[in-house]
Symmetry: C2
Subunit: 332 residues, 2 copies
């Protein structure tokens, strides 16, 4: 480990399994040579001894209003995490807490990249049998969007796909309700026109492949899927819910009889890689694209493994100058 | 079979597997005692001998513009099917063809129920382990909606859930991006206010259970999920695509080694009911709610079994006076 490398600021208080699983995830990162700083209340961090800590007296809850809570809870773990990035004490931040509040604190304290209209949440969608996940954005930050924002989401998504998944020329699809250019809402139709212009595609070295549909979220024929935050959030949670329902029903089947259990034993070696692909803990966190610092959002249900994956991704992206790459592509 | 019962008009030309699988589906219906009339070109129906036929010289393709094709192709199988219902020669119609064109021909020839602002497509979503499917509407007819239409979708969805799945007091959820009333787009926030009014709930004997999220599409805690046609279509295809990706990956796993194949043999008896639940062929078709006659839309990929299920559902709904029940609930 580079002794001088800046740490990733980890909000120890965010998510359903805080602080215990968050701290465990931070320990995994330390073991892997990734510098980490835990941000939380003295009580929550009382037993941490091998990881640098920064204390905060307040916690923003999952149900709190993002803007209000960030403004009022100045000494919250989330606000302090964002300030650590702003002040150059941390290279990136991650939290499994209230997504809106993470966005608000990142926006308020770290700020947006010059030229970015609206930051977006970009979430990896697993692709069974396909290797790299697809990136869905905006998956929840902006319930209402205009066509120009969708173009900027496409640009940022292309840079992210390249930096995170090493895709040289990411294929970008526009989420709609039919493949033909004329299909969809007025927003989608207008965005389609703008996205067909080659100039932004050259700028971000991406390729617009036209409309894609809900059935293409796990497709191997696209890398980045662009949509407004309302549709994106519904689609994301529909993928999660459908996968969870099917996996849950399968697990019931697997334990339904002695014969079934015997069968599962034989299948396990072949099933494990698929389970790993679909496991939200493996896919890693979402990122806020457009913020002047790597800011990752882990799923509220994250356990140590997911937190470790998010920390490790945040550290790699920061080291690879992801934010600078975004700055180069965004039109001022 | 009641010798005087009116038949279900079946568009023999619609869908990826027409006319062969459509005719096979119609034969299954005849075997089950359900009267059917096949509508198609003389060539397509040349080998049909035990089912009444009505000839049409034209076919509306999957990619054709709905309004234009229905207006121009007056002698198409789809338009002739709708006319059979209009003229009292058939009790209901079904097609696996172009959804927009089915809607346009039903609207133009059969007409909408008095008081209905916009008909909607209502699609059953399988609920693994849950018995009855959930109903999602609008799943594609109206890309843009206003809040009042969503209330009417809720009313029609409640009647449909009762008539089709025998749910006495259907629980109706509004698809949004957070469970709290304030979450979502302006459309959703306005609709939430209207849906909270008890008067429409009394009228249709339904119960508004608040916002639901994408992850609740397969939930056992809701019966009818209301949304605009853009979001609904994305959500529907996301469910289908996710289920298909996972099932496809599972089938690969199952045949990946001799050991795995041995395991699958032991699991098969327990797996089959789940496979049946998720099989789009079993769930049956979507319905156009708000049309003055039962009009069903089968998936484009429908095979005989799905066609048979759609015919059988259409016949039952018609016999149970589903359209009259809708008319009683819709405010004039």
């Amino acid at each position: 480990m580079d002794q001088n490398a800046l740490p990733v600021a980890v909000d120890a208080m965010g998510g359903d399994n805080a602080p215990h699983e968050i701290i465990k995830g931070a320990e995994l990162a330390i073991d892997a040579g990734i510098p980490v700083m835990l941000v939380g209340t003295p009580e929550a961090l009382s037993e941490v001894d091998n990881i640098p800590v920064r204390y905060a007296s307040e916690v923003i809850g999952m149900g709190e209003d993002p803007a209000t809570s960030v403004r009022k809870k100045k000494d919250s773990s989330l606000v302090r995490s964002a300030e650590a990035v702003r002040d150059g004490d941390a290279i990136a931040m991650i939290s499994a807490g209230n997504t809106g509040a993470i966005m608000a604190s990142a926006l308020l304290k770290i700020g947006r990249i010059r030229g970015v209209s609206r930051p977006a949440v970009a979430t990896p969608i697993p692709v069974p049998g396909g290797g790299k996940p697809n990136i869905l954005l905006d998956s929840g930050a902006n319930a209402e969007c205009n066509p120009e924002w969708l173009v900027q989401f496409a640009e940022m998504g292309a840079v992210y796909a390249r930096d995170r998944f090493d895709i040289k020329k990411p294929r970008i699809g526009l989420l709609s309700i039919g493949e033909e250019p004329g299909k969809g809402s007025p927003l989608v139709k207008d965005a389609y026109g703008l996205l067909s212009d080659p100039s932004w595609q050259e700028r971000c070295a991406g390729e617009f492949v036209g409309n894609v549909e809900g059935r293409d979220l796990m497709s191997q024929d696209v890398d980045v899927i662009v949509t407004d935050g309302f549709t994106g959030n519904v689609a994301l949670k529909t993928v999660e819910g459908t996968a969870k329902s099917i996996v849950g029903a399968l697990l019931e089947v697997f334990s339904s009889s002695a014969e079934a259990q015997e069968g599962v034993k034989l299948l396990t070696p072949a099933l494990l890689p698929l389970y790993e692909t679909l496991d939200p803990e493996s896919v890693g966190g979402a990122i806020l694209l457009g913020i002047k610092g790597v800011s990752m959002v882990s799923h509220g249900s994250s356990k140590a493994k997911a937190i470790f994956n998010a920390i490790s991704t945040a550290f790699e992206l920061s080291s690879d100058e992801h934010v600078q790459h975004l700055e180069q592509v965004i039109k001022q």
